[in-house]
Symmetry: C2
Subunit: 328 residues, 2 copies
């Protein structure tokens, strides 16, 4: 649910006058994206998405995010294409927020992805990496291992309150990954999405139809992106609910990796690093969710996601020793 900033009629009309898109025929706040305000916008020229960036996205990062989408769209990769104003600029200001209009992408986000969709997602991820291979801009992964001690600081009691004994295990995870130092490994690096959850992927039936929400995109190990997707796509909740009964679905993991490798085969070093990257990815989402869980006032408009879902994934990753452990 994500409409934080309201747009007045006059402000919208003045904003659209800076584009060659005609007048608005429809304008509806949509529940897409968590960090920003998003509107469905229809004009005589077609359908678009208008995004207003809320405070969690740094203004300095916006040219990178927009550049990624422009680069992908120019190569025919299915993603929201930033629309240029009459001045040739995609990024401008609306209601005091940085704002951008992008093309409308067809497709539905799967709520419970099936095996065929996992394969399609793997293919789509690899195609994204290939299409971005010659992208010229870089951005450090602000949520990489270097950021974790800062995220973790002072939260041990919160973790133990969620699940007795959890804090010690999280500290072991942080230490183990610091020791493995994945940033120093000889892994192919490039531009990654870094947040390609089912919410951010579209399908038409079982066919991958595109990726959205590039607001965590950064320069990092390509296999880390695959590790994020293994966490986000190949685990299933047990009957008991959100955190309990979590299971890794090997068919989904295998399909995801096979789909990826059908476009871009993994190097031996990437296969070897997959368990530590997957553990790192789970830790990254555990920590940011823990921060949101702890810092969000009770009864806030946006309900934070349960960090325990990622504590469960960490338990699984700790025991995996090779890519084969994920079906790869």
């Amino acid at each position: 649910m994500a409409v934080y900033t309201h747009v007045s009629d006059e402000a919208l009309a003045a904003f659209l006058a800076e584009y060659d898109l005609g007048n608005a025929l429809s304008f509806k706040g949509i529940a897409e994206g968590v960090e920003n305000s998003n509107y469905f916008l229809e004009t005589s020229k077609g359908r678009f998405i208008l995004t207003l960036f809320e405070k969690r996205v740094k203004a300095d990062d916006l040219p990178f995010f927009i550049g990624v989408k422009q680069h992908l769209a120019a190569k025919g990769y299915p993603c929201p294409e930033p629309i240029m104003g009459k001045d040739g600029k995609a990024l401008r200001t609306l209601e005091g927020r940085d704002a951008v209009i992008t093309s409308f992408l067809e497709g539905l986000s799967p709520r419970r992805p099936n095996v065929v969709q996992c394969r399609g997602l793997g293919e789509g991820l690899a195609r994204m990496h290939v299409a971005l291979a010659d992208f010229g801009m870089t951005r450090e992964n602000a949520l990489g291992p270097a950021s974790w001690p800062r995220l973790w600081e002072g939260r041990a009691a919160n973790a133990d309150a969620l699940l007795h004994g959890l804090a010690g295990r999280i500290e072991s995870d942080i230490a183990a990954i610091a020791k493995a130092d994945p940033d120093s490994l000889p892994l192919p690096r490039g531009t990654i999405h870094a947040d390609l959850f089912p919410d951010n992927a579209f399908f038409l039936g079982d066919d991958f139809s595109g990726a959205i929400d590039f607001y965590f995109a950064c320069t990092d190990a390509l296999a880390y992106d695959l590790a994020v997707c293994l966490n986000a796509w190949a685990f299933e909740d047990g009957a008991a609910g959100e955190a309990a009964g979590l299971q890794f679905n090997f068919s989904k993991g295998a399909a995801l990796i096979a789909g990826y490798e059908s476009v871009r085969p993994l190097e031996p070093a990437e296969r070897e690093a997959l368990p530590i990257l997957a553990r790192g990815a789970a830790l990254r989402f555990f920590l940011t969710r823990l921060v949101d869980w702890t810092d969000t006032p009770e009864g806030a408009l946006v309900r934070p996601k349960n960090p325990l879902e990622y504590a469960g994934r960490l338990s699984f990753h700790r025991k995996v020793t090779s890519a084969a452990g994920y079906g790869g």
Copy 2:
């Protein structure tokens, strides 16, 4: 903001299979309507709105609401047209909720309606009344004067907490309207929208392009619908904010009434009753907002609207003695 019920991929596909609409190409929760969950739905056959009815709408009332829209749409009146399933039925079940698909209506809801839009709204309201003159179904106004003592019961202290001395004035209003007994007046009656706020009206530029959200529609005095609109369209917030500094804009009131009368001239009895009907309409919205304000737990997902906006309107209506007081 209104997406309460989530729809799984499988449930949506099974639901759409009951229609002749093809498969979903896009499906996004939208921030439209307050009582229900609404989704933008695109299929190969076009764009639609999918509504799931939440608990506040009584299932027994749905055939009436759907009938109103079918009747209006059949006459070419711009409103969401219920789409029939293959079985000829518009109302079915999705994710345990009553659900309906309607056609997509172009237009934008004005945040701050201007005088020209107020005239267009008045015309659009009168056209609706005329189009519904031969509608055969009836529904009692569940929020008419008979319901007010029940809404008010036990809330006097809440009203005084909002504004010192308010409870006594509200009790005078309830008594004055009970004495005037608007239900007994010889006013033309028929099917009314009863909630045609700017949120529920669409415009393309300054041209009225349709009405949505018929979930308070009922059988009542036609002039009461105009009175609701005078409350909702012709008052303006002062610089001081939501409740303080509220002002009636005579140009907007006059435009609204003139627009209405350009299609359906008011009878003398309606002109005479306008002040008591407008006071009653303000009281109805004050009371339902007071109930929501009092009953909504602090920090709930949906923020209740401030009842004081309608206490301010009541202060105005108490002094009006004729339709001329509204610019009519």
